[in-house]
Amino acid sequence: MRVSYGAQPVLDDVSFTLSRGQLVGIIGPNGAGKTTMLKAILGLIPAEAGAVAAGGQPIARRGGHVAYVPQRDAINWRFPASVADVVLMGRYGRLGWLKRPGAADRAIARHCLEQVGMDAFAARPIAALSGGQQQRVFLARALAQEPEVLLLDEPISGVDAPTQESILAILNDLANQGKTLLLTTHDLRCNMEHFDALLALNRRVIALGPVDQVLTPDVLTRTYGTQVVLADGTRVALT
């Protein structure tokens, strides 16, 4: 797959295969094309060359077999919606035009909210929650799409360590249920044990594999260049 803004390719020669039921972290420096890759997979940005397939079939956007959890600046926080309203929006893609969410949709939304442990907050305005709580609500909305694949853009950034831990634990559970999850992060301090694999990206795929094979000085230098990378102490500390 190749994606360009103007003449400059942002992603070039990116090609990889993931197996079902994996939680994969995409790491890489700012400007490496992490968000671009997620958007290209979703078809939000046209790829110049290449194709994306899930389960052997081209990714069909409508119907929502691929769900997306956006970065928080994509949301209009002024809009007065309750947590329950937001999760119910996950059903819209399945409903199609002119249909309204019914009792079955509400039940699915409630169940998804329980899965992320936010059911007690259903009636609260979404804007009044903390960043980590909002992240979990948007995860519930993605689950309400009943997707095979979930793409998450920086879901564990800007939240404290316990919140990161609880979000990663939820994502882990989902992977164990057979969902394929792909998330971007620039935070290498989080607990890497949750990930089944890491994908080191900088314009192209530097490495893809189990965590201990990717978090090596060699791969990190090739991914981040001279940038300082903080690891969780026991692993790599390189300058």
Binding site: P70, R72, A74, S82, G93, A128, S130, G131
Partner: protein, 293 residues
Amino acid sequence: MTCDTLWSCLATPLSFGFMQRGLAAAVMIAIVCAVIGAFVVMQELAFIGDALAHASFPGVVIAFLLKFPLELGGAVVGILTALGIGVLTRRGKLSQDTAIGVLFAGTFALGVALLSTVKNYTKDLFGLLLGDVLAIQTSDLLVIAVMGAAMLAIVFAIYKELVLVTFDPVQAEVIGLPVSWLHELLLALMAVTIVISIQTVGIVLVVAMLVTPAATATLLVRRFPLVMLVGAIQGVVGTITGLYLSFYLNIASGATIVLVLTSMFVLALIFSPQLGSRHHKASHTAARESTSR
């Protein structure tokens, strides 16, 4: 004009045909404006609304000169302008802000130039710019009712799509909604709402009908459907109060309506401190988190 009892105060104006028509028009317009205005406020389109009002002016003038219902002429030009803004900005060379600035001054000037071909045109110009509720005819009422009902029906039919595009346009795109088409549809709905309101409050003040009730409602309630409902109630109460005040105090009707709506907004601002501070706090946490990233 004076009156003795509350009943006669309320009933006297209703004995005049122009007041009956004016009130009927005001109530219908207030409801449509609150529903469309809720989206305008959430998507921060007030400036575009003001521009669409000015841009529809040549259409209103042509209809006026040809003795057509003003709403029809205004609606045609307003929709064309709404689509024009969409095309100009999608071509990418100009920012939306600039495209609107150019279009709205140019079309407004065309309207003034056309109207100036009529002898003693200043009186008519004032009527169109500032609203002349006394001039509303039965045919206008019919046009307002039909167009207003059509717009409410469209919003009802694609309510969930409009909500998603407003709250989270990226998600709307992910599930395959035609986001830019929906945006232009919303602009067209705004244009039609504006032109059916022009006779009541005039081109210069019409943006208040669209924005003020919905803005007031966002201060008072925290669910989107309630914003529409409370906005509609405020709009109806405000326009009726404004018309009665204008009748008894003998002051310009459009301006009185807008002043009443603005006063209600200020009252809401003063009496919803709790909600205000909570919003404040939420946006602060948001700002803190985004800088910490």
